[in-house]
């Protein structure tokens, strides 16, 4: 304490308090510490190299824009709860990876990105309609479509050849007949009928191919209880009994990947991740795995690819910076590098970015971009909405199918599902 007089002490403490008070009042760091920080909440990508590339690009952007970009990633199943917590507390990250109907669920909490979407669309030949619809709400674009994930048939060529099939199935009916022979051979096919998101992706695809719907186009009328859905359920029941094994009832999203990679499974409906995993781990089975376009049905081919976006919270103090960052990620060289890092897993929602040579170069990927031609957002022909999201979240269709394969008459299962769909619509979020 030697050398500090009372006067000096008072002077120092008064200066400090004034500085602190100003800082608190302005809600801003003092000038010497001021460096903008942009925070982005994303998922643990199924192809981790894709996240590495994203972080690398964030680093480059940080230097260019004289800011810090922090990319946090977490397991995809935990994202909804985290996003809900951020929405509820109106604090957290500046932007996040949105999925499903998030832009509709949090419509009033997302910043409007009309100008950015418009600019990117013009620059790269337009957005695919199914990707656009997932982000375009009544009050404007509440997210930028980031990428979609093709959902083709993924199969083991060797098993098919052994069973006498030169080509993979073109229709769901063919899958059923081939599957019967493949199961007899000891290589069943597999579609999850369980509480996981792959179960939805396939159900929507199969249902649309049979001409069945879950909702009418108005988005307010349940349409699941129909003859067409009954056909879908009959098909599932036969496939389950004669071409699959009961393990499909317990799968999580990685269950079908393990099934194919174990060498037991002959066919799954899944993105290219098993093939990429086999390549990365140098598994010999990589040579046998191939892909084909999602099968068609009496009403044509339809697909429900997962569509991911980037949304910016309205409460963020860095909305403009976030937009700059998104624009930076969509620079052709950056987006291309990101596609390469994901080894063709990330599909661009913009037409011109889809010309990337990676799909043409590998014959096993060549057919993937075609999936965009028959993709729809979940709920189609209804527009995406929080009710559709809730139908998926509550596993209504997976449970309906599970009830039927476990012996419940299809009519009763459809009535049950119809009631669940009606409840999802009734509880619909009212956006003011």
């Amino acid at each position: 304490m030697n050398g500090t007089t009372r006067r000096q002490f008072l002077k120092v403490s008064a200066t400090t308090s004034t500085g602190l008070a100003t800082w608190l009042a302005l809600d801003r760091a003092p000038a010497f510490a001021q460096k903008r920080e942009l925070t982005f909440l994303s998922w643990n990508h199924f192809v981790p190299a894709s996240d590495d590339e994203l972080r690398r690009q964030a680093e480059v952007f940080s230097k260019q824009a004289n800011c810090t970009v922090r990319v946090d990633t977490m397991a995809h199943l935990q994202m909804p709860a985290k996003v809900a917590a951020e929405a509820q507390s109106q604090s957290g990250h500046d932007m996040y990876r949105s999925a499903g109907a998030d832009p509709f669920l949090y419509e009033h909490l997302h910043a409007n990105l009309d100008d950015l979407v418009d600019k990117l669309g013009k620059q790269f030949g337009g957005w695919y309609p199914f990707a656009a619809e997932m982000n375009q709400t009544k009050s404007g674009w509440k997210g930028v479509p980031w990428f979609w994930v093709s959902f083709p048939g993924t199969y083991n060529q060797a098993h098919f050849k052994k069973a006498g099939f030169e080509n993979p199935p073109k229709t769901w009916a063919e899958l059923l007949s081939m599957g019967k022979a493949l199961k007899k051979q000891g290589n069943p096919v597999g579609i999850p009928i369980s509480h996981c998101s792959d179960a939805h992706s396939t159900y929507w695809s199969v249902a649309w191919s049979f001409g069945a719907k879950v909702l009418e186009a108005d988005g307010k009328t349940p349409a699941i209880n129909s003859d067409k859905t009954a056909h879908v359920l009959d098909w599932y029941k036969e496939l389950y009994a004669e071409a699959m094994e009961p393990e499909v009832l317990s799968w999580d999203d990685a269950g079908n990947n393990r099934f194919l990679l174990s060498g037991k499974g002959s066919w799954i409906h899944n993105p290219v991740s098993p093939y990429n995993a086999a390549l990365k781990e140098k598994m010999p089975i990589a040579d046998d795995i191939n892909h084909h376009n999602s099968p068609a049905g009496p009403a044509g081919a339809h697909s429900a690819p997962p569509i991911l976006g980037m949304a910016v919270w309205k409460f963020s103090k860095n909305v403009e910076l976030a937009k700059e960052f998104i624009q930076f990620l969509f620079k052709k060289e950056n987006y291309d590098a990101w596609i390469v890092a994901s080894n063709a897993f990330n599909h661009p929602p913009l037409r011109h970015l889809a010309d990337h040579p990676i799909w043409a170069r590998n014959p096993k990927f060549a057919m993937l971009p075609k999936e965009a031609e028959f993709g729809h957002p979940r709920g189609w022909p209804a527009k995406p909405s929080d009710a559709v999201q809730r139908i998926d979240d509550n596993y209504v269709m997976a449970d309906m199918v599970a009830k039927v394969v476990n012996g419940m008459p299809p009519k009763r299962a459809m009535e049950w599902a119809q009631d669940q769909v009606a409840r999802a619509i009734k509880g619909q979020l009212k956006v003011g």
């Binding site: 809900a84 509820q88 009033h108 317990s250 999580d252 099934f259 174990s262 509550n394 509880g427 979020l429």
Partner: protein, 313 residues
């Protein structure tokens, strides 16, 4: 000293007490000091228990959505939830899950405690080891179980098939309703058993040896000693342990969420997992809160009955 002080005061020599002194005197009054001591706990309870509980009631009575305040809707959420057969199935699941898990935990817990109370070698190490399932974070240990029940790589099935107990391919643990329920119950028992065993063990240790000696002199067999000495004296401890375990088991979340996410066909959904699915994943906080609040009257009843039973004893 007091006499001296009084004498000084009487002589009018003492100054009027200063502000600090008056504060000290006020603080040292028994009722003020007492409340002062419990204040931090009260603040914590208010912030962490009463406030969330009040909010949950408020949410359950409104059509509140994540991030968007809703309007008061009275009991509409409760009516909606009661009308949903997924919820009714969840109620049934919760009772089956809690009933079976609790019974087995009680029986096995007492049995394990009696074994641990014996003079055996490595007693301390064993007692420590028994606690392991209780100590490891549930989400992590349940992932281990998840692999053991995996449809393709189940070590349980593999071992049982090799031993000739099961025929290949063995049960699909997480894919068939009754097996899935059995699986989540087994993991809950595995996790909750140490709590029972160690608490009951503490109860056992407090039973005076003389009772056993007297019973032995009277010619009681070991079974009679257990039924007529150990069990009656363990009752108060057991009642408290069962009370706690009922609450923990009813409100379990992690095990079901990691193993089945409520599947197959909602046959393993518990209140907490269904409330999470509807309230957080689906964003309908009002209904989610209503579901989780159904736990409250049930648990309040359990607590009331058990506490009355303990007091009566």
């Amino acid at each position: 000293m007091a006499v001296g002080q009084r004498a000084i005061e009487a002589a009018g020599l003492r100054h009027a007490p200063g502000r600090l002194e008056r504060l000290r005197q006020w603080w040292e009054q028994e009722d003020v000091f007492g409340y002062g001591l419990i204040l931090p706990a009260l603040v914590l309870l208010t912030c962490l228990v009463a406030y969330p509980f009040g909010m949950a009631i408020y949410f359950s009575l409104s059509d509140y959505w994540v991030g968007s305040p809703g309007q008061f809707v009275g009991l509409a959420n409760y009516r909606e939830v009661l009308g949903n057969d997924v919820f009714r199935q969840t109620v049934q699941n919760s009772f089956v899950f809690t009933g079976i898990a609790l019974t087995l935990k009680t029986v096995l817990g007492v049995w394990l405690a009696v074994l641990l109370a014996r003079d055996i070698r490595f007693r301390r190490v064993l007692r420590g080891a028994v606690l392991l399932p209780w100590v490891i974070p549930t989400a992590l240990s349940t992932l281990g179980w998840w692999w053991m029940f995996d449809s393709l790589y189940s070590v349980v099935n593999w071992t049982a098939i090799r031993l000739g107990i099961m025929s290949a391919p063995g049960p699909n643990w997480l894919g068939q309703s009754s097996y899935a329920m059995a699986a989540v119950i087994v993991v809950n028992i595995w996790r909750g058993l140490p709590f029972f065993a160690i608490t009951v063990l503490a109860g056992l240790m407090s039973i005076p040896r003389e009772f056993y000696e007297a019973a032995e002199v009277d010619g009681a067999t070991s079974r009679q000693r257990f039924w007529h000495v150990t069990l009656p004296l363990l009752k108060p401890v057991l009642a408290v342990v069962i009370l706690f375990s009922t609450i923990f088991t009813f409100s379990d979340f992690n095990i079901v969420q990691v193993l089945t996410r409520g599947g197959p066909v909602n046959s393993t959904h518990l209140f907490a997992t269904l409330a999470y699915q509807i309230g957080l994943q689906g964003g309908n906080l009002g209904q989610g809160a209503a579901i989780s609040l159904f736990l409250f009257p049930m648990l309040a009843m359990v607590v009331f009955l058990q506490l009355r039973y303990i007091r009566k004893d």
